[in-house]
């Protein structure tokens, strides 16, 4: 069976984002960019399904600028077989991303599409669910365990514990943090990835209108908390706690 994984190039997990002085967004000039961490988990899960003999081919897809090729090369170095970049310099919202991915899915006919549950830049947590809706497929969101046979059994991290659902294939799965620990690509695999096929397309090739529905009016820093006082002993701490009126 064929698997599709979607990956996004975002600000690196370890970089502290800085809001631009003019309030138009977050400063991404000269900032380290990496694969969205949840998408790394998605790529890893796809590779493990291939190693188990469940999947036969993994196609990685990204929608973004020319530099997103680097992100796709990372996916190829980890173990994806080929890649598709839908190239655009515009910021594409989850709804339009889902529409493009739905078109790619119509062409590629995968049995499973794996995506990160959210991107750590815009934090929408929407693309996978939207993609499943557009395709009319079931969805296993926030997955912490995935078993695939002639159906997919997905354990989901939900507020009250762990929920398990069974999905008909084809299906969409979005990954949570504890699904797996992504591997590092080895140097030989990084070299090999350079010769793996990477096709470049545009949103227009899929007939998808990527016009934004949400206009960003402004971006500001969150209100800052001031550091308070330090106490020297447990007794002092208890006194201060009682002053809050919450602790009896």
């Amino acid at each position: 069976m064929k698997l599709l994984v979607a990956v996004k190039r975002v600000i690196d997990y370890n970089v502290k984002p800085r809001v631009k002085m003019d309030g138009t967004g977050v400063d991404l000039a000269n900032v380290k960019m990496s694969m969205n961490p949840f998408d790394e988990i998605a790529v890893e899960e796809a590779i493990r399904l291939k190693e188990k003999g469940v999947a036969t081919e993994i196609v990685a897809v990204s929608i973004g600028p020319a530099k997103a090729q680097e992100t796709l090369r990372t996916a190829l170095a980890m173990g994806a077989d080929r890649a598709i970049l839908v190239q655009t310099d515009e910021e594409v919202e989850p709804l339009a991303v889902a529409k493009i991915l739905a078109k790619v899915a119509e062409e590629e006919q995968p049995q499973l599409i794996v995506l990160g549950k959210q991107a750590i830049d815009d934090d929408n947590n929407a693309t996978g669910q939207m993609l499943a809706a557009l395709l009319g497929w079931p969805q296993g969101t926030f997955a912490s365990k995935v078993d695939v046979s002639d159906s997919a059994t997905v354990t989901r991290e939900v507020d009250g514990g762990l929920e398990t659902v069974k999905l008909k294939l084809p299906a969409v799965v979005t990954t949570d943090l504890r699904l797996n620990e992504p591997r590092y690509a080895s140097l030989p695999n990084i070299m090999k990835a350079k010769s793996k096929p990477l096709a470049i397309k545009s949103p227009g090739d899929f007939g998808v209108d990527t016009a934004r529905r949400l206009e960003t009016v402004k971006v500001t820093e969150p209100p800052k908390r001031q550091a308070g006082i330090k106490v020297g002993s447990v007794d002092e701490l208890i006194d201060k706690l009682r002053e809050t009126g919450v602790v009896g």
Partner: protein
């Protein structure tokens, strides 16, 4: 404007997250509610009593019992023909269903709203709460998920909504519920607790995490939370996780013990009224947001605190 709020309920009770969502919806217009589930007559009655409740749409069908998005989203999308905005709490339930509704309506969802500026304009956190974006939606209908800690809870009493049965398309046949491994606890729920004691990797083991934190939580009547590091290390189950990708909490008092204060953790608790930090490293970033800090060894401090409270 008519709004439709997805009612989140469990064990026949409406969850607090729904009440905050009602408050957000009331800022936009008339509040209608959607109660979906199996044998949810009493939930519908409770919903009708929520202050400000208008029409309560009830879909009572076994297909909605486990809240499967594949079954619920078409129901909500159909009801949206008569509504202008769909709101769900930004819980795992709301986050699972709302984007599916949005795509069926060809609407770009506004996720995790912190405020309603006007009928089209909302604020929301981006970059793990390191920035706040003000966004204006050009979609005719809105689909919103609501950061519940950013809105007061509507009162459970005082409303006089009218209950109306609605039929949906039932079981899509796409997915089925297999089981729920529910975290069992007599303590308050994290997202509605007034006091939270939260532990980090410094506890060193699952045994020490529980041996030290559980008695303190019981003494305070507090919920227990954990940092991502502690959950990843297996000291606490996943639903304890507080942070950008875990639960967002804002209790009266948040006591962070052995938690360094990674940005992802702070994003989940920085709106707490009073933050207390106990950490042996006085340079730990948690102290930059803490109202009350105590530098020292948690293995000595926590038992002493539990004993003296």
């Amino acid at each position: 404007m008519n709004t439709l709020v997805l009612v989140e309920h469990e064990g026949g009770q409406i969850k607090d997250a729904t009440l905050s969502t009602v408050t957000a919806a009331a800022k936009l217009g008339e509040v209608h509610l959607l109660v979906a589930g199996s044998n949810v007559g009493s939930v519908a009655e409770q919903a009708a009593k929520i202050a400000g409740a208008g029409k309560v749409h009830v879909a009572d069908d076994a297909a909605y019992e486990h809240g499967l998005a594949e079954n619920l989203a078409p129901l909500a999308a159909k009801l949206m023909e008569g509504h202008d905005a769909f709101l769900a709490p930004a819980t795992t339930t709301g986050k699972n269903i709302a984007p599916r509704v949005a795509a069926l309506l060809d609407v770009m969802q506004v996720s995790d709203i912190l405020s309603v500026e006007d009928d089209n304009t909302f604020t929301r956190p981006i970059y793990a709460g390191n920035a706040i974006a003000t966004v204006r939606s050009s979609d005719a209908k809105k689909v919103l998920t609501v950061r519940t800690t950013a809105f007061e809870k509507a009162s459970r009493e005082g409303g006089s909504g009218t209950v109306e049965q609605v039929g949906g398309s039932g079981d899509s046949g796409l997915s089925s519920f297999v089981g729920m491994d529910a975290a069992k606890s007599d303590r308050p729920e994290l997202t509605s607790a007034n006091i939270i004691v939260s532990g980090g990797r410094a506890f060193g083991s699952n045994e020490q995490f529980h041996a030290l934190l559980d008695p303190l939580a019981d003494k305070l009547g507090a919920a227990v939370g954990a940092s991502r590091a502690a959950v990843d290390a297996g000291y606490a189950p996943n639903d304890y996780q507080v942070g950008q990708t875990g639960k967002i909490v804002a209790p009266g008092v948040y006591i962070a013990i052995g938690i360094s204060g990674a940005i992802q953790h702070l994003a989940g608790m920085k709106d707490s009224k009073t933050i207390v930090a106990i950490n042996k490293d006085e340079e730990a970033p948690i102290f930059q947001v803490a109202d009350i800090g105590l530098v020292g060894d948690l293995f000595k401090i926590v038992p002493e605190l539990t004993e003296k409270l």
